[in-house]
Assembly symmetry: C2
Homo-oligomer: 326 residues x 2
């Protein structure tokens, strides 16, 4: 399959009047920032446009798409166009997929490696550090007049998905976009404070609890922690506040692979996997029924937490052995 051009996609968008945007489930800064920027642009063009999510979004990302997000599928009865943003897999908009298919036309805009071409029009580029960068280019095709708020959405998308310009996916383009956004009047520090300096003390307590379960394996090359329902009760934190642990593990000296296990329900353990320099967690996640990027991927295990810990420990250990044999 081949990508349609952003020019073609812009033409399809221009012809539609009612448009619904679909970020992936458990949306992150890139998904929400990208949707927010695109939705703002569409509304400026005089279109009826909404971002449909199937869950509340994390508190620190609440400013993205504020007033443009909805949980109501019927806010537009029969949308001319449904756009899947930062998501190239129907499974990641599962609960909203029926509505998505009800769009007269569908578009997929994404940068994930494992994305398929499942829409009428598709633009998927795994080279791009963030979907926000593709949206930045698309806005130009849509002749969007630069403004502060849209710039802040784009910055939020790019800075979160590049790990603040530190991950290996960061491109020259990421910095050039950030530099250009200075001319849009963006208040960068405001965005950073919203995203990163909005941590509830409860989250800090949860992190301390989780880090106490730290298990190192394979001579320190693997690291694993768990977040349980019991910890949430004890600290008063919510599960989405366990975000960031994967990066903390990755930061430990010598660790090549890390895993964070989150007990959402008794037999529903979501696992975040990270690789530092050499490993590939996309393969590992796929083998466990999930997917993602080479350095950041995930899966869901339908088993009790202890069993999940054993499964992941085994997967990490064998990945470490493989690394050592290379």
């Amino acid at each position: 399959m081949k990508n349609d051009s952003l020019k073609e996609i812009a033409e399809v968008i221009k012809k539609a009047q009612s448009i619904m945007l679909f970020p992936h489930e458990n949306p992150d800064g890139d998904a929400l920032g990208s949707c927010s920027a695109l939705c703002r642009c569409l509304r400026n063009m005089g279109k009826t446009a909404w971002i449909l999510t199937d869950d509340d979004v994390p508190a620190n990302l609440n400013f993205l798409g504020e007033g443009m997000r909805t949980l109501d599928e019927n806010i537009i009865e029969e949308p001319d166009l449904c756009i899947c943003v930062d998501c190239g897999d129907p499974g990641r908009i599962e609960k909203r997929y029926e509505k998505f298919r009800a769009g007269r036309k569908t578009i997929c805009i994404d940068h994930h490696m494992s994305s398929g071409f499942f829409c009428d029009y598709n633009y998927i580029d795994p080279e791009e550090a963030a979907t926000g960068q593709i949206i930045f280019d698309l806005l130009r095709e849509l002749e969007h007049k630069p403004d502060k708020e849209t710039g802040e959405d784009i910055f939020a998308a790019v800075t979160t998905d590049t790990g603040d310009f530190q991950y290996s996916n960061t491109q020259k383009k990421s910095h050039l976009i950030a530099a250009e956004l200075y001319d849009w009047g963006v208040d960068f520090n405001k965005v950073s404070v919203e995203i990163y300096e909005n941590v509830r003390p409860e989250k800090i307590m949860l992190k301390n609890c989780a880090m106490a379960t730290l298990k190192l394996m394979g001579g320190g090359k693997g690291a694993m922690v768990s977040v349980t329902q019991e910890m949430l009760e004890k600290t008063g934190a919510s599960m989405d506040e366990s975000e960031g642990l994967a990066q903390d593990l990755r930061s430990i000296s010598g660790v090549e692979y890390s895993a964070v296990l989150k007990e959402y329900e008794e037999k529903k353990i979501k696992v975040s996997l990270r690789a530092k320099r050499l490993g590939n967690v996309a393969t590992m996640a796929e083998a466990l029924g999930g997917g993602g990027h080479i350095k950041a991927a995930g899966c869901t295990l339908k088993m009790p937490i202890r069993q999940a810990e054993e499964t992941i420990e085994k997967a990490l250990s064998s990945a470490i052995k493989e690394l050592e044999q290379k």
Copy 2:
């Protein structure tokens, strides 16, 4: 006083044969990255150049200036030129100041607000996000041929002093420099992994201990933690591994002011102060005999830790009251 131009400073450098570089005490990524880049350039120009420190540097910054750093004052007997880098205050090169003054000529290159003009030639620009950015410009005046290693030094300086392009001091220029460094062949991820993903498990344990002392005040607008000698003994961590706590406190929702107290000796407590949106900790630090930037400053208190905690709690509380009255 007025700055000399970088062109003039480059001329002075070109005429010198033996040059010593002086980063500030407890050197950070900007001080060491800037020295490393400049030293590399000077050696490429055929000069005898060394970076003189008065302490070992933090393990995660050890790659900056490797093979160019020394603790030996007499490595050059009578240097033609001494350059104070990322430091505009003789007090921050106190132990090496006599040697500094022994230079036939002296230069100061810095970006701190509280810097004075105490050298023969001075270039101090508080607008610059990092001294590394000034060095980037200076390298151009010195006709330095771009190379990977020097680029990595500059990136380390800029990314650490801008808080990974998140602090309010970050400029369009910071991103444009990072973008240009892609053409120098820099391995950005390598630098990030060195600086940020090199954390000993002992450091994580120390952080957990320190966060257990978290004290919120002024209705959650102030936050304070302490790191004591007892904690170092218990965890096996070193004091420089307590770095990063100030940022952790700043990240708590609602916190405007934060303080990290570090017990170096029984009556030598170093205090890091941070302000988030509205406050000015430079003034607070100066009142306590220290100095720094508006959003990040520090001081040293010569008293026992409990007394220091009281002193800082009082200073934070009155600063919070002032904020509320504004």
